[in-house]
C-alpha cells in the first residue's frame, strides 16, 4: 500500500540498501584477496622469486581507500578494512618492507582519512605506522608521513588527559 502511495521514496531506499550491500560485499571480497596476496608474497620471498601479488592488487586497494562514498564502510571497525591495509604495510617474513609504491600509496591514502580511536583500536594500523617511524629502511618521505600520522592519531588521546586537568 505504501509503495503505491510513494513509489519513488520506497524505490530509492531499496536502491540505497542494495548499494550498501554491494559495497560491503565488494570490500569483503577485497579483504580476502588482500590476505591471499600477503601470503603469496611471503611464499615468493621464501622461494627467492619476485613478490608482486600485493603490488598487482594495490590499485584496487588504493581506489577503495580514496573512494569518498565508501569511507564509512572503509572506516567501520566491524568491516575492519584497515586491518588488511595493515597487513599490506607489514614487513615480510625476511624483514624486508613491501614495495615502495605500496608504502607511498597507502600512507598517502591513510593521511587523507579521518581515522578515529575506534578504528585504530580494531585495526592495529597504528602499530605498523609506528614501526615505520622506528625502522631505518623506509625512505625519508615515508617516514615523515608515518611520524605525522602517529602525532595526529595520538593527539586526541593525549589531549583528553589535558582536559581532565583543567
Amino acid at each position: 500500500d505504501n509503495a503505491l502511495k510513494n513509489p519513488s521514496k520506497r524505490r530509492r531506499k531499496k536502491d540505497e540498501i542494495d548499494l550498501e550491500d554491494e559495497l560491503d560485499n565488494h570490500i569483503a571480497r577485497l579483504i580476502v584477496a588482500m590476505e591471499h596476496a600477503c601470503e603469496a608474497d611471503n611464499e615468493a620471498r621464501l622461494k627467492g622469486v619476485a613478490a608482486t601479488n600485493k603490488l598487482k592488487l594495490l590499485p584496487k586497494v588504493t581506489a577503495m581507500l580514496n573512494r569518498t562514498a565508501a569511507q564509512d564502510s572503509v572506516l567501520d571497525p566491524d568491516t575492519n578494512f584497515l586491518r588488511s591495509v595493515k597487513f599490506f604495510l607489514e614487513p615480510l617474513n625476511d624483514g624486508s618492507l613491501p614495495a615502495y609504491n605500496i608504502q607511498r600509496d597507502l600512507f598517502t591514502a591513510l593521511a587523507a582519512l579521518p581515522i578515529n580511536k575506534e578504528v585504530l583500536l580494531s585495526s592495529g594500523i597504528g602499530k605498523v605506522v609506528f614501526f615505520y617511524t622506528r625502522s631505518k629502511r623506509p625512505e625519508a618521505s615515508i617516514k615523515r608521513i608515518a611520524e605525522r600520522l602517529v602525532g595526529e592519531w595520538s593527539r586526541p588521546i593525549l589531549k583528553r588527559t589535558d582536559d581532565y586537568k583543567k
Binding site: 607489514e90 583500536l121 602499530k127 605506522v129 622506528r134 625502522s135 602517529v150 595520538s154 588527559t161
Partner: protein, 49 residues
Amino acid sequence: PRDKGLAVDATGLDKDALDDMENIFGNGDEYGWALDLEEDEEAQEREEQ
C-alpha cells in the same frame, strides 16, 4: 639498543590514556623481530666493508 616506546612525556597522563596509546601503537615489540633482522643485516654489511 634503540628506544622501544613512543617519545611521549608520560607525566600527567592518566592510566586510560596510557593504555589507549599502548593498544593503538603497541609496546614496541610487535615488529621487534623485523628491527632485529635490520640490525643484523647492518652489522653484516659493516663487517663486509
